[in-house]
């Protein structure tokens, strides 16, 4: 599971913004804002981490229960899928 090529995440004056460039623009032409956990998940979705690894890493970084992180992670993945940001 990874974020499609062309999507960029940047901190703009304290808000974490994702926009599409290049070919990704054909399927997405807008702005998504993330909180800091969302942004970290976005960065971890680079194809080198499994969903389980991402959940474990976030749970340990933020010192929260893995079950709670898992629910948030799944909700975020749904959001990313809806906006066409994910390669399966």
């Amino acid at each position: 599971m990874k974020i499609k090529d062309g999507f960029i995440l940047k901190d703009v004056a304290g808000s974490k913004i994702v926009i599409a460039t290049g070919e990704a623009r054909l399927s997405f032409n807008g702005v998504i804002t993330f909180n800091s956990v969302g942004a970290e998940i976005f960065n971890l979705l680079d194809g080198t981490n499994s969903p389980e690894e991402i959940v474990a890493k976030i749970a340990s970084d933020y010192n929260v229960d893995a079950e709670i992180v898992k629910r948030d992670f799944e909700a975020l993945v749904e959001k990313l899928k809806k906006h066409n940001l994910l390669d399966e």
Partner: protein
């Protein structure tokens, strides 16, 4: 190609139609070829292709529009960016009113002209913003939308204001971390990745350094007077 100085940038582009010629007139300049900073190469067949695809606009309008688009992509390389807004100057400072088309940006700034002293329009639709020595400036350009209301000047920015229609006139300071999505809806988002990153970096600085407000307003005289006095009051409170 013909030569222009726009927002201080030595620019060259082709002028074929009347609309672009008329709008570009006051920016005409002469400089050595080697000094050119921006060169816009918009081909005739590209304009023709766009005209066939969107035939509700004339050839001249397409030329104007795509030259505008190319120019505002290029200024990103010079730490500049466009904000879709009507920009009014009062007492030497620029106030940019941004909103979706049809909200009444221009209607509002024209209320400033009618009801507030010492005011003029810098660019009625698409001013350029540049940072120079830590100061943000709004610049007139040939690209000002439906009207030719633009001046070849560079004015320090006082505030960016997002405008919404309302019954009452109300101004609210916007937390700058909330402003990025609003600006991104009202600027050109480049397709090129490097340029897009550059744009977000410029926007980051802009939003850290320029106060942003939300204005709900009607179209009465009081809208201009309240907007101006409230923006000023809120800026002074911050400092």
């Amino acid at each position: 190609m013909e030569k222009f100085i726009i927002a201080g940038i030595k620019t060259e582009y082709n002028v074929r139609g009347e609309l672009l010629r008329e709008r570009s007139e006051k920016y005409k300049a002469d400089f050595d070829d080697s000094e050119t900073q921006i060169k816009l190469n918009i081909r005739e067949d590209f304009i023709e292709m766009k005209r066939q695809k969107f035939p509700n606009l004339s050839w001249d309008e397409h030329e104007y529009m795509w030259t505008c688009d190319a120019f505002y992509n290029e200024i990103l390389k010079f730490d500049g960016m466009m904000l879709h807004s009507s920009c009014v100057e009062k007492d030497g400072f620029a106030y940019l009113f941004s909103a979706r088309s049809g909200t009444g940006k221009s209607t509002h700034t024209h209320l400033w002209l009618e009801n507030l002293e010492n005011t003029r329009i810098i660019n009625d639709d698409k001013p350029a913003l540049f940072r120079e020595n830590g100061v943000w400036y709004a610049c007139g350009t040939p690209f000002s939308g439906k009207t030719n209301e633009n001046l070849d000047v560079k004015i320090p920015v006082r505030a960016i204001v997002f405008l919404f229609r309302g019954k009452e006139n109300k101004v609210k300071k916007l937390d700058n971390s909330m402003a990025a999505p609003l600006v991104l809806e009202q600027t050109i988002n480049p397709v090129d990745k490097t340029l897009a990153i550059k744009m977000l970096e410029t926007l980051d600085l802009l939003l850290r350094e320029v106060p942003v407000f939300i204005l709900h307003c009607n179209v009465k005289k009081d809208a201009a007077i309240t907007a101006y006095s409230e923006i000023e009051r809120l800026i002074k409170n911050e400092n």
